[in-house]
């Protein structure tokens, strides 16, 4: 069941979901939030992916959250899977089942080690967020008795009504196979304790492995599963939720969705340089392109990467590049060149916490101003900020359409959170025709009819056109030769500093942004997403990957009797002026939620709309972890509902202008 409207066409009635249809998502017994923790390099990610798929196949909706250090071997990491019978768009508040596998690459366990006692972290680091009544399974084969004793686990368990099951997973794995199979043992115990059937887990194992490895793993899985009841007496109430999907489901990350949007948008050229978290999109396309006639180039630096995308596009490929903060900084020059030469281009920027190297594996939304304005001169680009997996696909596809139709660089800005989180999506969502057209590119027949100067040079950059777009030709086409240059240029592309020509060219390039705004409003479903009831008194506005937490918070606030609705904005440039204006006009007050310290998106709203400063407050988070719904709820209560207290979460509230 959808709990928000997927958007609407302008002029049509907005579709707001009545409150009665909101699922009760705050009840812990209706959902499982399973956290599997261990060390980097211990296979936590693949174990969690398979478990998430098994839950999805059993009919549940799933949403995953990945927490990891910037290290390859060792260091505490976890993946959290939220599973429920209803749609889940966000992390939950805390979690209710911990499988602590131990960190087999833990360094320097002695007291003075820089990162503390890493061996115990898969257990110790995760206790604060475990809900009352939660379940803990830990590998007593890897976590030492003394270390566990130091945690006062027994006492804390009693206080919080936790159910603790120490199991020698490592020993079990060694007995039937190899030590690395302890993840399988952990999954077996989990399934046993949650009363799940093993069918889907077995299927997924059979898909991924074969021979002796499969045999051993299946043996370990069953052995562990059967320990529950035989050796382990389960005394907790938590069980796997049940559910049913109406249609076939697929589990995808934001990076998958962006890569697939590019494929369906006709992209067949990518150039890049590895950098977390952008590497995922680059990798997915590099692995798929050989089978679909595409070319992927890993090159010397990000200046080259973006310049290659410009060169490939100039010669006729639908091309893209991308990076994360520091790498994207190097792309500023080729980005400006694409703006000036009106070369179609799609770039993606996967934000991580900055400045500089910042926190490479942690999410933040602090590159908004950078992506909007980097490169010299006036910006002439399109920027979309998808807020969930489906939007990541839709808006990447749309980016290719807009870029090639309007000959303008189009940027997808997203972050580490959206990049790495997995969610189930209807398979049929992807059942649509690809769009491989080259937009406003002429054929040779069309070129024969097009405007040329007296010497036969094609007028690639005409002074005036209906929507600002002047059609392009490609090298090798007969009758299409022209000069492209980063200098200001005449209609045939030769360098020109004539004032009249300058004004014509500037205004035509700027006109494209107005035409794009018009097309977005008249020909496409809105990229903005709405939650709650239309006549609510208060608003929460957000952008990008904070959408899910805000959506859930709006639901809960309404359950608590608050009159509040939400808006998640994707059209950053050209800005969704009409929709944001309407939203802000309709509420008494609005809180803008974003993961940065300087309220960049609130600043953008004020810059674009020139008003509403006194209506907007901010809820900001920049500690490297994404918002949980409860933090948004609390922020609202303190901030908008004027409750006289400080937030308990590590967030900052910024008052409205003039307050």
């Amino acid at each position: 069941m959808a709990i928000y409207s997927k958007g609407f066409r302008h002029g049509e009635t907005k579709f707001w979901i009545p409150l009665a249809n909101w699922p009760l998502i705050s009840m812990s017994d209706e959902e499982l939030i399973w956290r599997v923790s261990g060390g980097s390099g211990d296979g936590i990610d693949s174990t969690s992916q398979n478990f998430a798929k098994a839950l999805m196949r059993s009919g549940l909706h799933v949403f995953t959250h990945r927490h990891y250090p910037s290290r390859i071997r060792g260091g505490h990491t976890y993946v959290e899977i939220r599973a429920a019978g209803h749609e889940v768009q966000s992390r939950g508040d805390g979690y209710n089942f911990l499988l602590a596998l131990g960190d087999s690459f833990a360094r320097n366990p002695q007291e003075e080690a820089y990162y503390g006692n890493e061996e115990i972290k898969p257990l110790s680091e995760n206790l604060d967020e475990l809900r009352e009544g939660g379940v803990i399974v830990y590998d007593e084969g890897l976590l030492s008795e003394d270390d566990v004793a130091e945690l006062d686990l027994e006492e804390r368990a009693e206080e919080n009504n936790w159910h603790v099951y120490p199991v020698d997973l490592r020993g079990l794995a060694k007995e039937h196979g190899r030590e690395v199979m302890r993840n399988t043992a952990g999954v077996g115990i989990t399934a046993g304790l949650l009363d799940m059937e093993l069918e889907h887990i077995e299927d997924l194992m059979s898909d991924a492995m074969g021979g002796d490895v499969l045999e051993s793993n299946l043996e370990i899985l069953h052995e562990a599963y059967e320990m529950v009841g035989d050796e382990i007496e389960a005394e907790h109430d938590l069980r796997a939720p049940t559910g049913e999907h109406d249609t076939e489901q697929a589990l995808l990350s934001g990076s998958n969705a962006i890569a697939y949007g590019a494929i369906d948008g006709g992209c067949r050229f990518i150039a890049g340089y590895p950098m977390t978290p952008w590497t995922d999109v680059f990798t997915i396309l590099s692995q798929n392109f050989p089978d679909m006639g595409g070319v992927s180039e890993q090159v010397e630096d990000e200046i080259a990467a973006a310049a290659l995308a410009v060169g490939a596009s100039h010669a006729g490929a639908k091309a893209m590049s991308g990076s994360s903060g520091g790498g994207f900084a190097l792309m500023s020059e080729p980005l400006g060149l694409a703006e000036m030469t009106e070369t179609p281009l799609v770039l993606v920027e996967s934000m991580r916490a900055g400045p500089s190297t910042g926190m490479p594996t942690k999410p933040e939304q602090a590159d908004l101003e950078f992506v909007l304005y980097t490169s010299q001169g006036d910006s002439s680009r399109v920027v979309f900020a998808p807020g969930n997996i489906e939007e990541a696909y839709e808006q990447t596809r749309l980016a290719f359409h807009i870029a090639w139709e309007y000959q303008i660089p189009t940027i997808i800005i997203y972050d580490q959170k959206l990049s790495g989180e997995n969610k189930n999506v209807d398979v049929e969502f992807f059942d649509r025709e690809p769009e491989p057209g080259l937009g406003s590119t002429l054929t040779e027949d069309e070129l024969a009819e097009a405007a040329h100067d007296n010497s036969g040079k094609f007028k690639r950059f005409q002074h005036e056109s209906e929507n600002g777009v002047s059609p392009r030709s490609l090298p090798g086409q007969k009758g299409g030769r022209y000069l492209a240059t980063g200098n200001e240029h005449s209609p045939v592309g030769h360098i020109s500093e004539d004032p009249d020509n300058r004004v014509y060219q500037m205004e035509r390039r700027m006109q494209k942004l107005e035409s794009i705004r018009t097309e977005l409003e008249e020909e496409h479903e809105s990229n903005q997403t709405y939650f709650g009831e239309e006549d609510a008194e208060y608003g929460i506005i957000t952008w990008g990957s904070s959408q899910g937490a805000v959506e859930e918070a709006v639901g809960r606030l309404n359950e608590q009797g608050h009159s509040v609705k939400g808006l998640s904005v994707s059209d950053m440039m050209p800005f969704a002026e009409t929709e944001v204006t309407e939203f802000l006009e309709s509420v008494d007050e609005a809180m803008v939620v974003e993961m940065n310290a300087t309220a960049q998106f609130r600043g953008l709203i004020q810059k674009e709309l020139g008003r509403f400063g006194e209506k907007m407050t901010s809820l900001l988070k920049y500690n490297g972890n994404p918002f949980e719904p409860a933090e948004v709820v609390e922020g609202y209560e303190v901030n908008v509902a004027d409750e006289d207290r400080e937030p308990t979460a590590q967030v900052r509230i910024e008052p409205a202008a003039g307050d």
Partner: protein, 311 residues
């Protein structure tokens, strides 16, 4: 049927076709070596059977960057130092287009040095002409990566403390498979070398000595020049990497002592070009990417068919 019918068109090609009607007169200073590059290119292109619309000339920034304002082909005047990544990607998108990149010594050996190394290393099938005037011209005569040690300029008032970069040796080390030096004062040799470079299947690097009479030296200072192939004083095999390396080193050593050596230094006809390598490993299609967008019979893959791995 191709969507790019200028490519491989069978017809007589007149040298004048390469002179753009809109800007027939270059604005370079009188006596500038850049005229020599332009003239030899205009001669070489028809002789290798290339017409203006099957050639893409990609330039950087500087006096040399204006080359494609005065050479009527498809042109892309990019940004400082970035002609090579733009050019090589154009070649990957449509390998049928003849791609020529050009820029100055600051552009190619300084700010774009990283791209030079990697484009040579990858052996893209293209020609790269570096207008080497041993100075920054368009910014008014500052010391460049190839300026001699001790070169005085407004930004090196006591004389440069740096030794000049060795362009030929650098190209060889990086992996270029055709390496030559020519000079604006020798247009016949230049034309022949450009023809060979265009016809070479791999990365062809031409270090083109272009005198800068305004800031540096006039043509007389590149005379007399010696063609190492024609002179009896030099004997080495251009196909032999070791001998080529030695000849390059000597050439670079004596340039600032007044001996101008030019000619072919290294030719490797055996190594496959980057496109050939990439096709061999299965990561580049036979049909040019650019052609496919115009091919109405093409069946485009879609992500819907990739979803099994996610179910």
């Amino acid at each position: 049927m191709s969507a790019f019918n200028a490519i491989g068109e069978e017809r007589e090609i007149d040298r004048d076709e390469f002179t753009p009607g809109v800007e027939p007169q270059p604005t370079w200073c009188p006596g500038c070596g850049d005229f020599g590059v332009l003239k030899s290119l205009k001669q070489a292109l028809p002789e290798v059977g290339k017409n203006p619309e099957e050639v893409l000339t990609v330039t950087g920034i500087g006096c040399s960057g204006k080359l494609n304002s005065y050479l009527d082909t498809y042109g892309f005047h990019t940004i400082h130092g970035r002609s090579l990544p733009v050019a090589r990607a154009a070649k990957l998108a449509n390998p049928e287009v003849e791609v020529i990149a050009a820029g100055g010594d600051g552009d190619g050996y300084g700010i774009g040095g990283n791209h030079f190394i990697h484009t040579a290393r990858e052996n893209h099938d293209m020609t790269y002409i570096v207008f080497n005037n041993e100075i920054f011209g368009l910014t008014k005569g500052q010391t460049s990566p190839t300026s001699p040690k001790g070169h005085k300029s407004k930004t090196q008032p006591s004389g440069s403390a740096k030794s000049p970069l060795r362009p030929l040796s650098m190209a060889l080390n990086a992996g270029a498979t055709y390496i030559a030096r020519t000079a604006a004062v020798n247009p016949n040799q230049a034309k022949e070398i450009i023809k060979e470079a265009i016809e070479h299947d791999g990365f062809a690097h031409i270090d083109f000595l272009t005198q800068c009479p305004t800031w540096n030296k006039d043509a007389r200072q590149y005379v007399p020049y010696v063609d190492v192939q024609e002179s009896d004083d030099y004997d080495f095999d251009v196909h032999d990497r070791e001998e080529a390396a030695q000849m390059m080193r000597e050439t670079e050593d004596v340039l600032n002592e007044g001996t101008v050596l030019t000619g072919r230094y290294y030719v490797d006809d055996e190594s496959p070009s980057y496109s050939q390598e990439k096709k061999a490993v299965g990561e580049m299609p036979e049909q040019p990417i650019a052609e496919r967008y115009f091919d109405e019979d093409s069946e485009w893959e879609r992500s819907y068919d990739l979803l099994d791995r996610h179910k």
